[in-house]
Symmetry: C2
Subunit: 133 residues, 2 copies
């Protein structure tokens, strides 16, 4: 293999990619030691529980197994100072799960940070995308 | 399996994680279609080439195979409007690789965006970390 710059004929996947517009996306991760505590996947899951009203419906909406959803939420509950999800007993739906005040605050802060970051860096992100398009 | 909030005795990994301080890290990814064009790993590789002066030395510094480093750089060269890495022939080191002006600009913009984002979101990130610590 020689210098990458020397080989210029694009492979099909690269050519297809070259034709699509560049999209920039921030992902914020919070780690504790080597453990990923909060990341985009977990926030998406919390939003799904908030919207669907149960873990099983949220998992189904995301095409995720109930077991995996449960384990991610269990881990979140352990990582944070207070649980993010709690059981709802009885009522018209016969029970389910909902976000606690901590869970709602976690989602709100996470999404606001993404928006603030995208706004603050708008000019540089456009310059970066211009290198690709 | 019942409600995650109900089971509170922490597993050893979670307990260890609970004791570490939370660290927040932005990762910016630029995609074209389904293809990840620019992300943290590629930027780190470009910085290693810039600092080491060759792809083989950069790969070694990152504990990556030469083949993988070459393929990532080749893909970057194809994704961008202009190559990011070029060969250097002759000289005291007997040749190697260096970043082009485009490659240097890519790294500069990417790192500046990360810093701007972290600064702009400082207060919300502290609030998010406070939910974990």
């Amino acid at each position: 293999m020689s210098d990458p710059a020397a080989r210029k004929a694009p492979a099909p996947a690269a050519r297809q990619a070259a034709e699509a517009a560049a999209v920039a996306r921030f992902r914020l991760r919070l780690t504790k030691g080597t453990h990923i505590a909060v990341g985009p996947g977990r926030i998406e899951l919390l939003e799904a529980v908030r919207d669907a009203g149960s873990i099983i419906a949220a998992a189904s909406d995301l095409g995720m197994s109930y077991r995996r959803a449960w384990m991610l939420l269990d881990d979140l509950n352990r990582c944070l100072r207070a649980p993010v999800v709690e059981s709802v007993h009885g009522g018209a739906q016969g029970g389910g799960s909902r976000l606690t005040a901590t869970g709602l605050e976690l989602v709100r802060l996470y999404r606001r940070i993404e928006q603030t970051a995208a706004r603050a860096c708008g000019e540089d992100i456009e310059a970066l995308k211009a290198l690709l398009d």
